[in-house]
Amino acid sequence: MQCSTMITITLSWQDVTGDVIELPCAGHVGDELQFGGLEDYDADTMVRGTAVTNKDGLNKLGVLVNKPKSKSKGGIMTVSRMRNAPGRRGGGIHFLPRRKVKVIEIRGAKGKSVELVKQKSDVKNGEPAAEDVRFDQVKNEAKNKMEGSEVVMENMEVEANGDESAGRVGETRARGPPQDEELLEVPVVDPEFATEVDPGRERLLRLQVEELLKEVKLTEKRRAGIDEFVQVLRGLLADLPTLPPVQLDDTSWLPAGLCVPWPPGPALPSGVRMSLGPPAEVKIVGSYATSEVIRPDICIDLMLTMPKGSLQERDDLNQRYLRKRAVYLAFLAAHLKEERRLGNLKYTWLSGNCLKPALLVSSTGKNIRNISFRLLPRAGLERFKPSRFHPIRNNVRPSWLSVAAQDTDIATATSSTEPLPPTPCYNAAVLNDLFLEKHTRLILETFSSAPACRDGLILTRIWLHQRQLHQGRGAFSGFLAAMLAAYLVSTGQLSFGFDSWQVFRCLLSHLATSDWTKQGITFVKNLTLGMPILQDFHTVYDVVFVDPTGYVNLCADMTAATYQRVSREAQHALSVIKDSLVNPLQTLLLSSCPFVLSFDHIFSVKAGHMPAASERLAPNKARLDYGGDFVAASLSPLCKLLSRGFGSRVHILDHMLIPPPQWELNDLPPSPDHMGIVTFGLTFDTACAFSVLERGPEADMPEVKPFRELWGPRAELRRFPDGGVCEAVLWSPGVTVAQRRLVPKLIVEHLLCLHGGIPASAITYMGGFLDPILQSRIKGIEEGTGEEQLTSIIQSFDELCRQLRGLEGLPLVVTATVGTHPALRHTEVFPPHPTWLNPKSCCTSGTCDSLAPDPNKPCPAYVPAITAQLRLEGSGRWPTCLSAIARIRAAFHIRLATLLRQSHALVCQVSQSHVDVYKAGLVFRLSVVASRELTVQRGDGGDAERAAELVKDTCYTPLHGSHICGLQGEFPAFSSGCRLARRWLAAHLLSDHVPVEAIELVAARVCLHSIGHQPPGSPEAVFLQILFLLANFDWQSAPLLINLGRPFKQNEVHSIESSFLESRESLPAMFIGTPFIPRSSWTTKHPTPQILRRLVLLARESLRIIQEAMIQPLPDTDIWQAFRPPLSLYDALIYLLPWHLPRHAEALDKPAVLLPRGVQPAPSGLSLPQLPPVQYDPVEQFLKELRAAYDDFALFFHDRHGGDVIGVLWKPQAFLGYPFKPTHAAARNSVDSTATSTSGISTSACISANMATILADVELLGHGLVRCVESPKNGSCIGDGEQ
């Protein structure tokens, strides 16, 4: 039956040039069809297809077309495609009764003539009846996707029994499934993608992309305004006067005060003349021309061809062309300055290259505010031969430079016998000017018919912008991205069928996988004689991307470091796209990732030392090739030197790109080192970055020489434990982890000093600059940031665990000990250190083992209890009553204490809920978990709230602890970064309002889903990224999910996300989910939405302060400002006496006088030490009392690490008058009795609270601790305690 159906189909093929070839073919269903006609084109191009029907039978016909084999050169296959199903685009042709053809138009359809001849046997009647249905001008534009192996065309609906068709179709639509128009609205899901991520996410992403594009694209109104303004500009330029030839070194013809934006370097010899006049041609080039311009900083490039006669022979030599260009700009500026229709005029450098100034014209118009127009003069194409700018040729003669600069050094350095050094950057600078228009045209032509591709390029531009890669000398500009896209189209890797997101991904995946520093790419396929080959480019440039002319390297100024960073960023972007827990749009396109956040350590070098360094590293290059831009000239050799020195220690080493400056017409151009500093960033491979020993080659290997040359006097021969005798470099930073983290600093200082002559004083190294915050101020352990203490605490704990498991005589065996204290998971800000107290500083208690605090002496040193839980073997003999369970637990604790004392001579102190064990100067607080308790609480007579608490304490806390502890092994910077964040939080008096676990989870998220191109590798980086996340995460509309412990499953993410939006109001303000504890158990009560808002603000502000201080390290910037709480916003401040602050030494600013806290060295001998007061901090007690009493009236804020002030915020509604109710009785201290009636019973008497009385009571409650209470808002100070 099927064989009887014969179809004839014609495909149209449009190649790049626009020629259309028609490929007709006919065959039966099941036959293979060969669409001839492309033979002339390329031998390999043969379109094959198979005629098919769908499974239902004959009413749908189609053809399966194999992909034309490669080399299709980006042509467009336009087919008569009849398809209206989800997943594919295209038009549909329905065969209606009496063989009439109806075409259903689809969106985006364009007029293309497709011919379709159909011969069909009438199946129903059994007798073949050939019939031609010929129709022209079928409006259909269906593009085959080129990337798949085959493209299915089907669903050519043939309604064999046409009588009933119309009605039936209507019926089925009413019931549901495929309504064509509606389904078209559902965006296409990339099938390749659907396997990786959830299609729903993909769909949402596409909608978001659409919105984003709308936001950045220019509106029609503004476009019209721009076009109008360009017309005005054209008119003005055409009206420029023609001047007689002027001397180049004589600028007297210019209006007074106006400066020529000369490139740096010596002036030209006198006698060079140029004539000035209106430009020969004015053209729009760049991003506006190719409709890729994005808001907000819109810049429209106008290319002005300098008039004939302005340039002479050999102007290509010795910067003559560039200098004439500068003069021409001054000429333009002189005549446009007075024009009223134009706004402000300024000079700038084109793409940060100081050889190429440009004139910026700001617009004045209604719809075109904040738009600038850049005037770029250039020579006519016919003026210079491109072959003169072959990359390895010299166009700036050293002899000229030496004569002009009256400098004999250069002449002697390059004697006449040697070949002239190539000037690749100079060559590229001139060539770029020449071919600017050609490149624009190429982009325009390639993407004229593919708006989706243009959108993709816009996305790429946004991405580059957000990563700060888009401007400055050697930047990866949007233009470069467009050229790359054009290249990918020419190689067939990018198809016009892609949508914008796919184009973006395609560009990313090319960048992620290619290495232009080793294997450059080129448009040119067939080289002609004399054209430079790729190898030529590689010898003189770091990064190679050759344009279609074959002479221009588009990446001439880019350093290898920058390219590697781009490549790394692209890899990161692809991983973000795959990560189902991160919104790729938010991370990649909607939030910016500044330079300092992308790197682990930052260092900056004073630019004043750059000339000397560049002369030493690359002699003469800066003056000849870079025209005197020493900074740019030294970047590449410096980066190369440093990355050689670092080897595998760093992943990425890059310098910061400096946005081009702008200056007034009356000013001289700024010097190329106008920033004053050059900033570099390092990201580490944390496995080996901080090792103190660098093992080099073996003593007798040929690599010894370069090794010794690199390291100079630091290289030495060493014998290694494996018997090898090798060259090695040993760094001796110190013993602590924090000091070892500064090994890279030593390397940088050594290498820069040895090879660049840059002294250490000129280097500002921003690594470990936050370490002082974590350093303990207690005598004897000043150095180090606590990592060592944390390790030793865990060791002591492990030993205790061993002892516990080995105890004999307990009724039930201890099966596990689980640490629940942050110190046991590496996140305690100031890890407890071993403390022994002098009994004289305390008073002895009833039992001889324990000391109790004495209120008349300074508060003894704070000894925190390191909490842990004991799990016992299962037993059925636990009682079933809660109070009995509590007593049995207490009995367990007593027994435990006795046994530990007997068998291990440990001092213990028993309590109802725990037992404190004093071991090696640390106090461990062990509590037995009674598994029966949870069952009873969950049962009939239990308390649901208490049960939930129990679950949290006994199930979730240990689980959380083990996962967080595991992270530390994977990310060495995690611990200190998280501790910094906790310290920051406490410094802003918020530590009691944000749970520890929440901050730990945020830190975990930062490490597991980094915003930078790799997980942060230094504590500062972790800390800054935590601040960044706190400040930028959309807490209101998205849950923060973390793959902690194991990755989330797709459906889990889905269910959390969908339930999140539905029940947003009832969920915690800060929602953090992990696979094992998905319901954000830690943040149910805290932080409240108000606190979270405040947290976000604080994070944003602190981040800004630290970033500024890192980029511009000025001597007077105070980085601690980010840690100082603004006290002015509190309603009242309670100042405390340091006398009773046991942790006063932990304060951010080290107190001038440290009170004696009774600490003494470890007692020797057999006498057992006495247990110091555990967890005794009067401030904590005070806060607890305050919160218990005045929770309804005020919020209390305090820095638990030595803060000597408590901030009070009133809850205003609590101070209104209330009618008396027993529940309102507390603290309502004033009675409004005016309404008392004569009978004596008042029905409307109001009671209200009184702030002054509350503050007086607060002072009373904190007797001995409070110095004074101030309420700055009223300007009053209430009470003054004894000093």
């Binding site: 919105e211 007593i894 218990a1188 009785a1225 009675v1231 009671i1247 009373l1260």
Partner: protein, 281 residues
Amino acid sequence: MAATEETRESANPAARPLVVLPGGYRALPVRVQERKEHVRYIYVKEHRVREMAASWTPGKALLVLGIPPYCSQENLRLLFGKFGVVESVTLHKEADIPSATEAPSKYFNICPAQGFKVAVVTFKLLQDAKAVLSYPVDEALDLSSNEVPIITGVTKWAKEYKDKIIVPEEMQAEIDDYMEKYDKKEEEEAKKKNEADVPDEEGWVTVTRKGRHRGIPRTAVVMRRLLQRERKQKAQRELLNFYTWQRRESKRDHIIQLRKKFEEDKQKIALMKAQRKFRPF
């Protein structure tokens, strides 16, 4: 000292008449020695309980609300001692005072003594209690004196710490005592339970609700688990893609689902757009 207006006003109590508040409460002005200028109010009324104990004499006990956190039993004794002989003072956390179910213990079931409290003060004589309720607000009463000071701040916390240090032997003794009683009780209950279905000497069987087959407890957890199991079994029994209509329906549902999600997404986008979330720079 900059006292606010209200404070100054309340510092002159002579102007204030006796205030009777809803519920029969009266405001009683008090002050502490250390801060004489601030007057606080506590609220007093006659304490009534539903279940009268034998020893209970109505009218002798007063319920006192809004007792500041620094005020101890001694302070209250001092305050009310002015009116007569105070028999007992008990402090509680909340206004609805629970009846004690267990014998008081030195170590267990201790309610935290923080925040504002409620007290029950019992006078020896009825008229003394009456005198409190009809106390005219002439002058604020003293909560503390030189002999009975208010103990707060560092002194209090140090004392609390010292008091919390436990002598294990004493606690062990209390526990042993309690557990002995508990065991005995348990034993008796078990005995009773065993005897429940056994005929006694005269052949009588005590019939209880809890028979031999008690059935499952109808708690939420158990019910949820049962439902889950049932659903799972049902799902295993059913073939979901057997009939053509089933497949068609599932496809249709899928598309409807898709559409719904698409609509949701659109809403989400609209929301984000309204919040200006799409501004990249």
